[in-house]
Amino acid sequence: MDGMSLLTITVLAVFVGFEVVSKVSSTLHTPLMSGANAIHGIILVGAIIVAGQAADPWVLVVALLAVVLATANLVGGFVVTDRMLEMFRGRQRPPSNAVVPEDRGSVEPVKKEGRQ
């Protein structure tokens, strides 16, 4: 593709990017950041191309490292965003005794927090 078309696409993408998040409420800032973070994991496509065209072993090793990192970004990003969002529910509160079965009456939470 020639440079001018790429520039056109880039500029239009900038405007779409500005427009699409300009009115988002702060409620969703964290999931939005996380979701956008997952999307740039698409660098995986670039890493696959480079790894698939690697001729010498040194290049292949570095390219495969890039594939691992990019996959972690892409897969981890979407999974963690989905985990955040599955918790967003509308006004359909379950009965109060079903809210936190694992917390009721237990003195010590099962999972320990890593930091204090």
Partner: protein, 457 residues
């Protein structure tokens, strides 16, 4: 592998790019957010399948193995992470994405003689490396592996200037002759710049830096798309770069600060330095039973959650307390400061986890006028976001940050671990006001006691 013709490849990439736009659009509303994210994941899957059938690739078993390793490590971590540790995980994923972009650009250097392409390579190397190293430092700060306080030393601005100048010099040489050695030097300089960039940023500003680095990684990916001539990378990277920039500005605005002020504030000694001194002034501390009486006979209660709630994993107990109060006919809302917790929207995620409907989570601008008609403002593990010093003390590091006006409420109850100042390290005058009551202890323990006492009323 059978090769797809270029038209079909372009169409599939276009479909993937549309999926990404729909994903970001969907993330604008709680109702459509989850579907939006799934659309984004579908777009990514589509793009990855497309690349396998459209480009002639060698080493496919190796590539599939590397993808398996990456997914095998990231998916379980993402699934199991505690909600409180979400910010550092996002920082980590962002960093590895930036690192991947830098590596891709490095390997493409030998394939091109075009100076414009080399310019894109230099940009990707530098920005990707900054994002990788910067995200690593933010991860260390949030994970508690290093101090959250700003780290500065006398020569820091000069050192940063030297690193950047050297990077520009190395970049120019790489553009002119494509030297691989200097590209590696550039990579190292980028790593150094990333570390130097984030070290002086104070604790409370770290979330904004994550967002900024997220935008950086987007730009690096877009530039790597220019290097590879891949339109999808250009579009996806640019989308993230642009939306990340807007998001960063929105977050900074919520704190009443400029992005430049945050990034360079510590260079001038003006970042959130603060102190951790513990004041000796008298405060009114009280028992859980007294707090329960205050809450149980109120008509309107607003709960203000902060990071202390998250650390104590008290979100479920807070939700139960809200239900118990509502059962007594009391109107209860949660007031969410945009930067409560360690990341904008962090509190919303935590409380959503505890089944609090998002309609009960009120944004600062919507609820601030309601504190005047509120009987009790219950501040759980928050401090800086309700500190009147942001309005009154012009020398304060948080001066200018919009706060939740809890001082307008008839009674203010703080559940605090100790008298230590908050993340920004500034004393809170509100703690010494006559309408303020303090209940010391771990947020979850205190909430559990208050909940028990409310039920016993």
């Amino acid at each position: 592998m059978t090769l797809l013709n270029p038209t079909w490849t372009a169409l599939l990439y276009l479909a993937a790019a549309a999926c990404f736009i729909l994903a970001l659009k969907g993330l604008n509303s709680p109702r459509t957010a989850r579907r939006g994210n799934l659309i984004g994941a579908f777009g990514a899957l589509l793009a990855v399948v497309t690349v396998f059938v459209s480009v002639k690739l060698d080493n496919i078993p190796w590539i599939l193995g590397a993808i398996a390793v990456g997914s095998g490590v990231a998916a379980p971590v993402a699934r199991r992470v505690q909600m409180t540790q979400m910010p550092q995980l996002v920082a980590l994923f962002n960093g590895v994405g930036g690192g991947a972009a830098a590596l891709v650009a490095l390997l493409e250097l030998s394939h091109t003689g075009d100076p414009w392409v080399r310019l894109a390579i230099v940009f990707t190397l530098l920005v990707g490396a900054v994002s990788f190293a910067g995200s690593g430092v933010t991860f260390a700060k949030l994970q508690g592996l290093m101090t959250t306080r700003p780290v500065t030393f006398p020569g820091l601005p000069a050192l940063m200037a030297v690193v950047l100048l050297a990077a520009v010099g190395a970049g120019v040489v790489v553009i002119l002759n494509g030297s691989l050695v200097l590209a590696l030097v550039l990579l190292l300089l980028g790593l150094a710049a990333g570390i130097l960039l984030v070290l002086p940023v104070g604790g409370a500003d770290v979330p904004i830096v994550i967002s900024l680095l997220n935008a950086f990684t987007g730009l690096a990916v877009a530039a790597s798309g220019l290097v590879l001539g891949n339109v999808l990378l250009v579009v996806a990277g640019t989308l993230v770069g642009a939306s990340g920039t807007i998001l960063t500005r929105a977050m900074a605005a919520a704190m009443g600060r400029s992005v430049a002020g945050i990034m360079f504030g510590a260079f001038k000694g003006g970042s959130t330095a603060g102190s951790t001194a513990v004041s000796e002034r008298p405060v009114r501390s009280s028992s859980a039973e007294d707090v329960a009486v205050l809450l149980g006979y109120a008509q309107r209660v607003i709960i203000v959650p902060g990071y202390g709630l998250a650390v104590a994993q008290g979100q479920h107990t807070a939700a139960e307390l809200a239900l118990a109060l509502e059962a007594r006919g009391i109107e209860v809302d949660f007031a969410i400061h945009p930067v409560a917790g360690r990341m904008p929207g962090h509190m919303n995620v935590l409380l959503a986890e505890a089944n609090v409907p998002y309609e009960s989570l009120k944004e600062m601008s919507d609820i601030n006028s309601e504190f005047k008609t509120t009987d009790v403002a219950l501040v759980v593990g928050a401090n800086d976001v309700v500190n009147p010093a942001a309005k009154t003390t012009s020398g304060s590091p948080i001066y200018g940050m919009p706060i939740l006006e809890v001082a307008d409420a008839r009674q203010v109850v703080f559940l605090k671990r100790s008298m230590r100042p908050g993340f920004a390290g500034i004393e809170n005058e509100l703690l010494y006001e006559p309408q303020t009551t303090l209940l010391f202890g771990d947020a979850k323990d205190s909430l559990t006691k208050v909940l028990g006492a409310v039920k016993a009323l």
